[in-house]
Assembly symmetry: C2
Amino acid sequence: MTTTSRDVARAAGVSIATVSRALSDNGAVSEATKRRVLAEAARLGYSPNPAARRLITGRSGTIGLIVPDLANPFFADIIKGVQRRAREYRQTILVADADEQPRLELDAVRNLTRQVDGIIWASPRVDDAELSAHLNLPTVLLHRELPGQWSVTADFGEGVRQVLVNLHALGHRTIAYAGGPGQSWSGRKRQESLHSNVPALGLEVFELGSVPPTIDGGLMAADLTLATPATALVAYNDVVALGAMRRLADRGVSVPQDLSVVGCDNTMLSLLATPALTTIGVPRFEAGEAAVTLLDQCLSEQPGPVCQVLRTSLVIRGTTAPPKES
Amino acid sequence: MTTTSRDVARAAGVSIATVSRALSDNGAVSEATKRRVLAEAARLGYSPNPAARRLITGRSGTIGLIVPDLANPFFADIIKGVQRRAREYRQTILVADADEQPRLELDAVRNLTRQVDGIIWASPRVDDAELSAHLNLPTVLLHRELPGQWSVTADFGEGVRQVLVNLHALGHRTIAYAGGPGQSWSGRKRQESLHSNVPALGLEVFELGSVPPTIDGGLMAADLTLATPATALVAYNDVVALGAMRRLADRGVSVPQDLSVVGCDNTMLSLLATPALTTIGVPRFEAGEAAVTLLDQCLSEQPGPVCQVLRTSLVIRGTTAPPKES
DNA sequence: AACTTGATTGGAAACGTTTGCGGAATCCTT
DNA sequence: AAGGATTCCGCAAACGTTTCCAATCAAGTT
């Protein structure tokens, strides 16, 4: 049998109410009895039954995390951030992988609703209407903004701007852009930034359209790029960039001499490439941490909503160089 | 306010006991009233309070998952498998990332103990004694065996054997082996298999010792290999293999012409390498699925323990070839 | 017709906490 | 020394289920 607060109460010669107060540290208990209770609790190896506590308080000490794909290194790092900060806050996390299917995200929200205090939701692709229809619980959106909603995002627009400025400074004037899935919020942000910055810099951009955010998408993007006069390729993310590099190598196009390549996200993949990939650094770990902090604020009824925007940074490595003289 | 079983009972004109029976589908309820209750429940949007249910039944419908590092693609795939199968079984998963620190794994077990029905624990490095000391709950070990314990592992030994046979068939006679962290269970299995298969094949093996299971470890392994007459390098995992390939490229050693390289795990990384990496395919997704199934059996008191061993397979890609004539 | 059987249902006791309320003891104030 | 304020603690009522047990009723049996 497990030991309950009644056992501790009996052992310490007090009532269960006092045990509860001594342990939860809120009610008024004398220093002496508190010590006695704590000692007995420790001796008996008592820990309160979370279900009972939750039934009465309505708080579970658990937060839900919904991501489209756990195996995607991008989200894996986010989880790590969430996890670490949650540990500090004494919260456990209930995780739901939506297998890249928006419908499963909505299912997950429904299931989680009764089980958690709040939700952290990374949902690049569910549309706005459906998203807000499912927000019954305190929620922090990740890499996504919605009017009136708490969120933590990264400044992708600034990242793209830096890339463009940098490529321009290197001497590039014609670049290709491989976009990701059209519904993605961050993808739209990147696109917007592209359009707003290109004119001022006097760049010419060839938009290759949406390619799948996979290695195969990268292969495609490489071929599309070679059909343009572009001297640099800016890819939707690191995976696409790596796919492109692979195809370019096959085609005998050397990076960065013949073509510069820029990725996005600064995942571990960018270090695996040869040469190492120049990319937009997106703080994923920090985003996960920030989301937990914000959710905590949201749960403690602090004024909001707060929309935190994290900084991105251009990480210059080996795949960018001045264009070939031609 | 949330709607409770009392509300449904009132609406359907029955007692809460009947509501409970109609919904949980175990007690005896007439078909007519069951339909009525279900209809009212749906109309009111009722869903049972999990905390209350759990308090009385002692079951939470939640399983705990402990992994050393979520950002490691190896474990990410395992989680995905767990997640999917758990969804089928109507279970949610509580995940704990131990940040590669065995001490945090033990903390996680303690925290999870009161919150979940059972635990799936991937613990390559916690030592046997401490591991068994912390198994208070039904537990399935992942990629690890312990006497008397339920587990699902992969047949790493067979994988290594296939590699050796294959390299031998290609004409290699001298190979280098880069081992991983010494405490790792699967690492020991690989080592054992190496020792037991080498004599029969007449191979000479240079053991490079333990290298960190990282890109840097791979760089090291490459240099160590070049100091031997080995014509092939078998690495602890794909990351090490990729690190090695990178250093080899820098050194002007071409793979597979000058040196064959074999990885282990068949993570997505192995497809990113150029040329694509020959590697030992380890079923991670399936392992996650199997673990949930086993845990379910364990929880339903079926006879055990069951130790399921999944098959590995040699995935031959572009980094292995006959050795150079010399 | 009385008795047994089986199927449905409701009443009520759990499960283990937290917390409002009131009582008792102690302390300070005048 | 008496009154009020303060501190500390126990009683008991929740929280929302599940499930044991008994009650009711229809149907079948002798």
